[in-house]
Subunit: 151 residues, 2 copies
DNA sequence: GGATAATCGGACAAGCACGTCCAATTAACA
DNA sequence: TGTTAATTGGACGTGCTTGTCCGATTATCC
Protein backbone atom coordinates (compact mmCIF):
# COMPACT_ATOMS: atom_id res chain seq x y z
CA UNK A 1 0.00 0.00 0.00
CA UNK A 2 2.86 2.34 0.71
CA UNK A 3 5.48 2.25 -1.98
CA UNK A 4 9.02 1.16 -1.35
CA UNK A 5 10.14 4.67 -2.15
CA UNK A 6 7.99 6.14 0.62
CA UNK A 7 9.35 3.61 3.07
CA UNK A 8 12.92 4.47 2.10
CA UNK A 9 12.31 8.21 2.28
CA UNK A 10 10.84 7.89 5.77
CA UNK A 11 13.75 5.81 6.99
CA UNK A 12 16.24 8.31 5.62
CA UNK A 13 14.48 11.32 7.08
CA UNK A 14 14.02 9.70 10.48
CA UNK A 15 17.71 8.91 10.55
CA UNK A 16 18.61 12.45 9.55
CA UNK A 17 16.25 13.76 12.23
CA UNK A 18 18.00 11.60 14.78
CA UNK A 19 21.34 13.04 13.72
CA UNK A 20 19.97 16.53 13.20
CA UNK A 21 21.26 19.08 12.55
CA UNK A 22 24.44 17.32 11.47
CA UNK A 23 24.72 16.30 7.81
CA UNK A 24 25.25 12.67 6.92
CA UNK A 25 26.50 11.17 3.69
CA UNK A 26 24.38 8.93 1.50
CA UNK A 27 26.68 6.06 2.45
CA UNK A 28 26.04 6.62 6.14
CA UNK A 29 22.30 6.88 5.65
CA UNK A 30 22.26 3.76 3.50
CA UNK A 31 24.21 1.80 6.07
CA UNK A 32 21.96 2.87 8.93
CA UNK A 33 18.66 2.38 7.13
CA UNK A 34 19.54 -0.68 5.06
CA UNK A 35 18.39 1.01 1.88
CA UNK A 36 20.24 0.21 -1.38
CA UNK A 37 22.76 3.00 -1.64
CA UNK A 38 22.40 3.85 -5.33
CA UNK A 39 18.64 3.95 -5.14
CA UNK A 40 18.70 5.94 -1.93
CA UNK A 41 20.59 8.68 -3.69
CA UNK A 42 17.67 9.00 -6.11
CA UNK A 43 15.16 9.15 -3.29
CA UNK A 44 17.20 11.82 -1.57
CA UNK A 45 17.33 13.85 -4.75
CA UNK A 46 13.55 13.88 -4.63
CA UNK A 47 13.54 15.03 -1.02
CA UNK A 48 16.00 17.69 -2.05
CA UNK A 49 13.79 19.04 -4.82
CA UNK A 50 10.89 19.08 -2.39
CA UNK A 51 13.06 21.21 -0.14
CA UNK A 52 12.83 18.81 2.78
CA UNK A 53 16.55 18.23 2.94
CA UNK A 54 19.57 20.05 1.63
CA UNK A 55 22.71 18.48 0.23
CA UNK A 56 26.23 19.68 0.03
CA UNK A 57 28.71 18.33 -2.44
CA UNK A 58 32.34 17.60 -2.01
CA UNK A 59 34.50 16.45 0.82
CA UNK A 60 32.79 17.03 4.15
CA UNK A 61 29.45 17.30 2.40
CA UNK A 62 26.32 15.29 2.90
CA UNK A 63 22.62 15.62 3.47
CA UNK A 64 20.82 17.36 6.30
CA UNK A 65 17.32 18.38 7.24
CA UNK A 66 16.14 21.83 6.27
CA UNK A 67 13.82 22.13 9.26
CA UNK A 68 14.05 20.81 12.78
CA UNK A 69 12.49 17.41 13.56
CA UNK A 70 9.62 18.98 15.46
CA UNK A 71 8.64 21.02 12.41
CA UNK A 72 8.38 18.01 10.14
CA UNK A 73 5.41 15.65 10.10
CA UNK A 74 5.39 12.20 8.60
CA UNK A 75 2.86 13.56 6.13
CA UNK A 76 5.34 16.18 4.95
CA UNK A 77 7.74 13.42 3.98
CA UNK A 78 5.13 11.21 2.36
CA UNK A 79 3.67 14.07 0.35
CA UNK A 80 7.13 15.09 -0.79
CA UNK A 81 7.86 11.81 -2.52
CA UNK A 82 4.42 10.49 -3.37
CA UNK A 83 1.48 12.68 -2.41
CA UNK A 84 -1.56 10.96 -0.98
CA UNK A 85 -4.01 11.23 -3.84
CA UNK A 86 -7.30 12.19 -2.27
CA UNK A 87 -10.35 11.51 -4.42
CA UNK A 88 -11.81 14.88 -5.30
CA UNK A 89 -14.09 13.98 -8.16
CA UNK A 90 -15.75 10.90 -9.55
CA UNK A 91 -13.04 8.62 -11.02
CA UNK A 92 -15.52 7.64 -13.72
CA UNK A 93 -15.14 11.14 -15.03
CA UNK A 94 -18.83 11.88 -15.23
CA UNK A 95 -19.86 15.20 -13.84
CA UNK A 96 -23.53 14.40 -13.71
CA UNK A 97 -23.71 15.61 -10.15
CA UNK A 98 -20.89 18.05 -9.70
CA UNK A 99 -18.55 17.57 -6.81
CA UNK A 100 -20.47 14.93 -4.88
CA UNK A 101 -18.75 11.58 -4.65
CA UNK A 102 -20.85 8.46 -4.81
CA UNK A 103 -20.94 6.43 -1.58
CA UNK A 104 -18.25 4.04 -2.79
CA UNK A 105 -15.70 6.69 -3.60
CA UNK A 106 -16.70 8.71 -0.59
CA UNK A 107 -15.70 5.74 1.54
CA UNK A 108 -12.43 5.27 -0.28
CA UNK A 109 -11.65 8.94 0.19
CA UNK A 110 -12.52 8.69 3.86
CA UNK A 111 -9.93 5.95 4.19
CA UNK A 112 -7.36 8.15 2.49
CA UNK A 113 -8.32 11.01 4.79
CA UNK A 114 -7.72 8.85 7.85
CA UNK A 115 -4.24 8.02 6.63
CA UNK A 116 -3.56 11.66 5.97
CA UNK A 117 -4.75 12.58 9.45
CA UNK A 118 -2.67 9.89 11.13
CA UNK A 119 0.44 11.05 9.31
CA UNK A 120 -0.20 14.72 9.84
CA UNK A 121 -0.41 14.53 13.59
CA UNK A 122 2.98 12.99 14.24
CA UNK A 123 6.25 14.86 13.91
CA UNK A 124 9.64 13.28 13.45
CA UNK A 125 10.58 14.59 16.87
CA UNK A 126 7.72 12.64 18.38
CA UNK A 127 8.76 9.51 16.55
CA UNK A 128 12.22 9.81 18.03
CA UNK A 129 11.10 10.82 21.50
CA UNK A 130 8.65 8.01 22.02
CA UNK A 131 9.63 5.78 24.93
CA UNK A 132 9.96 2.30 23.54
CA UNK A 133 12.13 -0.73 23.47
CA UNK A 134 12.41 -0.40 19.71
CA UNK A 135 14.39 2.59 18.66
CA UNK A 136 13.42 3.92 15.23
CA UNK A 137 15.04 1.97 12.40
CA UNK A 138 15.59 -0.76 14.92
CA UNK A 139 19.12 -1.77 14.20
CA UNK A 140 21.22 0.74 16.04
CA UNK A 141 21.03 1.51 19.72
CA UNK A 142 20.45 5.26 20.25
CA UNK A 143 23.76 5.76 22.01
CA UNK A 144 25.65 4.26 19.11
CA UNK A 145 23.77 5.94 16.33
CA UNK A 146 24.46 9.38 17.71
CA UNK A 147 27.84 10.79 16.91
CA UNK A 148 29.61 11.68 20.10
CA UNK A 149 30.59 15.29 20.44
CA UNK A 150 27.83 16.50 18.17
CA UNK A 151 26.95 20.05 19.10
CA UNK B 1 -2.51 4.68 -3.05
CA UNK B 2 -5.16 2.22 -4.15
CA UNK B 3 -4.24 0.39 -7.31
CA UNK B 4 -6.25 0.64 -10.47
CA UNK B 5 -7.11 -3.02 -10.11
CA UNK B 6 -8.67 -2.45 -6.70
CA UNK B 7 -10.70 0.44 -8.06
CA UNK B 8 -11.94 -1.68 -10.95
CA UNK B 9 -12.79 -4.63 -8.73
CA UNK B 10 -14.81 -2.42 -6.40
CA UNK B 11 -16.73 -0.88 -9.27
CA UNK B 12 -17.53 -4.29 -10.69
CA UNK B 13 -18.65 -5.74 -7.40
CA UNK B 14 -20.77 -2.72 -6.51
CA UNK B 15 -22.48 -3.01 -9.86
CA UNK B 16 -23.06 -6.72 -9.38
CA UNK B 17 -24.41 -6.01 -5.91
CA UNK B 18 -26.80 -3.50 -7.37
CA UNK B 19 -28.02 -6.09 -9.85
CA UNK B 20 -27.84 -8.95 -7.37
CA UNK B 21 -28.64 -11.75 -7.51
CA UNK B 22 -28.90 -11.59 -11.30
CA UNK B 23 -25.77 -12.43 -13.31
CA UNK B 24 -24.34 -9.86 -15.68
CA UNK B 25 -21.93 -10.35 -18.55
CA UNK B 26 -18.46 -8.83 -18.60
CA UNK B 27 -19.64 -6.57 -21.40
CA UNK B 28 -22.48 -5.25 -19.31
CA UNK B 29 -20.26 -4.68 -16.29
CA UNK B 30 -17.63 -2.96 -18.41
CA UNK B 31 -20.22 -0.67 -19.96
CA UNK B 32 -21.69 0.28 -16.61
CA UNK B 33 -18.43 0.80 -14.77
CA UNK B 34 -16.35 2.27 -17.59
CA UNK B 35 -13.62 -0.28 -17.06
CA UNK B 36 -11.68 -1.55 -20.10
CA UNK B 37 -13.49 -4.72 -21.02
CA UNK B 38 -10.51 -6.99 -21.68
CA UNK B 39 -8.79 -5.99 -18.49
CA UNK B 40 -11.98 -6.26 -16.50
CA UNK B 41 -12.22 -9.90 -17.46
CA UNK B 42 -8.85 -10.48 -15.81
CA UNK B 43 -9.91 -8.69 -12.67
CA UNK B 44 -13.08 -10.74 -12.52
CA UNK B 45 -11.08 -13.92 -12.88
CA UNK B 46 -9.29 -12.90 -9.74
CA UNK B 47 -12.53 -12.27 -7.91
CA UNK B 48 -13.65 -15.66 -9.10
CA UNK B 49 -10.61 -17.45 -7.70
CA UNK B 50 -11.14 -15.62 -4.42
CA UNK B 51 -14.66 -17.01 -4.44
CA UNK B 52 -16.29 -13.61 -4.26
CA UNK B 53 -18.15 -14.04 -7.51
CA UNK B 54 -19.09 -16.99 -9.65
CA UNK B 55 -19.12 -17.10 -13.41
CA UNK B 56 -21.10 -19.17 -15.82
CA UNK B 57 -19.99 -19.80 -19.35
CA UNK B 58 -22.02 -19.99 -22.48
CA UNK B 59 -25.11 -18.31 -23.72
CA UNK B 60 -27.11 -16.85 -20.88
CA UNK B 61 -24.06 -16.96 -18.67
CA UNK B 62 -22.31 -14.17 -16.84
CA UNK B 63 -20.96 -13.20 -13.46
CA UNK B 64 -22.85 -12.94 -10.17
CA UNK B 65 -22.09 -12.46 -6.51
CA UNK B 66 -21.64 -15.54 -4.37
CA UNK B 67 -23.00 -13.83 -1.26
CA UNK B 68 -25.67 -11.20 -0.77
CA UNK B 69 -24.58 -7.54 -0.73
CA UNK B 70 -25.10 -7.28 3.03
CA UNK B 71 -22.67 -10.11 3.63
CA UNK B 72 -19.86 -8.47 1.68
CA UNK B 73 -17.69 -5.68 3.04
CA UNK B 74 -15.52 -3.38 0.99
CA UNK B 75 -12.59 -4.97 2.78
CA UNK B 76 -13.58 -8.39 1.49
CA UNK B 77 -13.26 -7.11 -2.05
CA UNK B 78 -10.00 -5.25 -1.47
CA UNK B 79 -8.40 -8.18 0.27
CA UNK B 80 -9.48 -10.49 -2.53
CA UNK B 81 -7.54 -8.64 -5.20
CA UNK B 82 -4.77 -6.98 -3.27
CA UNK B 83 -4.65 -7.62 0.45
CA UNK B 84 -3.83 -4.71 2.70
CA UNK B 85 -0.31 -5.54 3.82
CA UNK B 86 -0.22 -4.78 7.51
CA UNK B 87 3.26 -4.34 8.97
CA UNK B 88 3.81 -7.22 11.34
CA UNK B 89 7.54 -7.11 11.79
CA UNK B 90 10.33 -4.64 11.31
CA UNK B 91 10.79 -4.07 7.54
CA UNK B 92 14.51 -3.76 8.17
CA UNK B 93 14.45 -7.45 8.94
CA UNK B 94 16.29 -7.18 12.22
CA UNK B 95 14.80 -9.12 15.04
CA UNK B 96 16.76 -7.40 17.74
CA UNK B 97 13.58 -6.82 19.68
CA UNK B 98 11.14 -9.47 18.61
CA UNK B 99 7.72 -8.40 17.52
CA UNK B 100 7.81 -4.77 18.63
CA UNK B 101 7.65 -2.26 15.83
CA UNK B 102 9.66 0.90 16.12
CA UNK B 103 7.61 4.10 16.46
CA UNK B 104 7.88 4.89 12.76
CA UNK B 105 6.56 1.58 11.54
CA UNK B 106 4.05 1.45 14.33
CA UNK B 107 2.58 4.66 12.97
CA UNK B 108 2.56 3.39 9.42
CA UNK B 109 0.81 0.25 10.55
CA UNK B 110 -1.71 2.31 12.49
CA UNK B 111 -2.55 4.11 9.27
CA UNK B 112 -3.03 0.79 7.51
CA UNK B 113 -5.20 -0.37 10.36
CA UNK B 114 -7.44 2.65 10.02
CA UNK B 115 -7.95 1.90 6.35
CA UNK B 116 -8.73 -1.69 7.16
CA UNK B 117 -11.23 -0.63 9.78
CA UNK B 118 -12.93 1.86 7.50
CA UNK B 119 -13.31 -0.77 4.80
CA UNK B 120 -14.40 -3.50 7.14
CA UNK B 121 -17.32 -1.62 8.58
CA UNK B 122 -19.15 -0.91 5.36
CA UNK B 123 -21.03 -3.53 3.39
CA UNK B 124 -21.94 -3.29 -0.25
CA UNK B 125 -25.58 -3.14 0.78
CA UNK B 126 -24.84 -0.04 2.81
CA UNK B 127 -23.04 1.56 -0.09
CA UNK B 128 -26.08 1.01 -2.26
CA UNK B 129 -28.64 2.00 0.36
CA UNK B 130 -27.07 5.29 1.31
CA UNK B 131 -29.37 8.21 0.56
CA UNK B 132 -27.45 10.49 -1.76
CA UNK B 133 -27.68 12.47 -4.92
CA UNK B 134 -24.83 10.44 -6.35
CA UNK B 135 -25.77 6.90 -7.02
CA UNK B 136 -22.84 4.49 -6.87
CA UNK B 137 -20.80 4.48 -10.07
CA UNK B 138 -22.40 7.77 -10.84
CA UNK B 139 -23.31 7.42 -14.44
CA UNK B 140 -26.55 5.54 -14.41
CA UNK B 141 -29.70 6.54 -12.58
CA UNK B 142 -30.84 3.73 -10.27
CA UNK B 143 -34.08 3.20 -12.17
CA UNK B 144 -32.23 2.70 -15.42
CA UNK B 145 -29.44 0.55 -14.09
CA UNK B 146 -31.86 -1.97 -12.69
CA UNK B 147 -33.27 -4.37 -15.19
CA UNK B 148 -37.02 -4.15 -15.12
CA UNK B 149 -38.76 -7.36 -14.22
CA UNK B 150 -35.78 -8.70 -12.34
CA UNK B 151 -37.05 -10.98 -9.65
C1' DG C 1 -26.45 -31.20 -33.89
C1' DG C 2 -25.31 -26.58 -35.07
C1' DA C 3 -25.28 -21.69 -34.26
C1' DT C 4 -24.66 -18.50 -30.84
C1' DA C 5 -23.09 -16.43 -26.59
C1' DA C 6 -20.26 -16.27 -23.09
C1' DT C 7 -15.91 -17.18 -20.06
C1' DC C 8 -10.97 -18.81 -19.92
C1' DG C 9 -6.20 -18.72 -20.70
C1' DG C 10 -2.09 -17.43 -22.92
C1' DA C 11 0.73 -14.32 -25.63
C1' DC C 12 1.99 -9.91 -26.21
C1' DA C 13 3.12 -4.76 -25.38
C1' DA C 14 3.75 -0.22 -23.13
C1' DG C 15 4.82 2.26 -19.03
C1' DC C 16 6.23 2.68 -14.38
C1' DA C 17 8.70 1.26 -10.00
C1' DC C 18 12.81 -0.29 -8.33
C1' DG C 19 17.51 -0.77 -8.67
C1' DT C 20 22.52 -0.53 -10.60
C1' DC C 21 26.43 1.66 -12.65
C1' DC C 22 29.32 5.27 -14.05
C1' DA C 23 31.06 9.65 -15.73
C1' DA C 24 30.71 14.55 -14.60
C1' DT C 25 30.65 17.98 -11.24
C1' DT C 26 31.63 20.30 -6.98
C1' DA C 27 33.80 21.32 -2.68
C1' DA C 28 37.19 20.66 1.10
C1' DC C 29 41.76 19.95 2.53
C1' DA C 30 46.67 19.31 2.51
C1' DT D 1 47.21 23.01 -7.15
C1' DG D 2 46.17 18.40 -6.84
C1' DT D 3 43.88 14.74 -4.39
C1' DT D 4 40.09 13.14 -2.19
C1' DA D 5 35.27 12.95 -0.97
C1' DA D 6 30.91 13.68 -1.99
C1' DT D 7 26.48 14.71 -4.82
C1' DT D 8 24.33 14.84 -9.55
C1' DG D 9 22.44 13.12 -13.66
C1' DG D 10 21.92 9.92 -17.31
C1' DA D 11 21.85 5.32 -19.26
C1' DC D 12 20.46 0.99 -18.53
C1' DG D 13 18.07 -3.42 -16.80
C1' DT D 14 14.32 -6.04 -14.77
C1' DG D 15 9.97 -7.12 -13.20
C1' DC D 16 5.28 -5.72 -12.16
C1' DT D 17 0.98 -3.27 -13.42
C1' DT D 18 -2.13 -2.17 -16.76
C1' DG D 19 -4.03 -3.24 -20.96
C1' DT D 20 -5.08 -5.65 -25.64
C1' DC D 21 -6.04 -9.53 -28.61
C1' DC D 22 -7.37 -13.98 -29.87
C1' DG D 23 -8.11 -18.85 -30.01
C1' DA D 24 -10.04 -22.56 -27.10
C1' DT D 25 -13.61 -23.98 -24.29
C1' DT D 26 -18.20 -24.38 -22.47
C1' DA D 27 -23.02 -23.83 -22.21
C1' DT D 28 -27.60 -22.48 -24.04
C1' DC D 29 -31.11 -22.42 -27.40
C1' DC D 30 -33.36 -23.51 -31.79
Amino acid sequence: MFSQTVEYALRAVVFLADQSPEPRTTDQIAAATLVPKAYLSKVIQGLCRANLVQSKRGSGGGVSLVKTPDQLSILDVVNAVEPIARIRECPLGLKAHGVHLCPLHQRMDNALASVEAAFRETTLAEVLAEPTTSYPLCEIAPALSRKSGTK
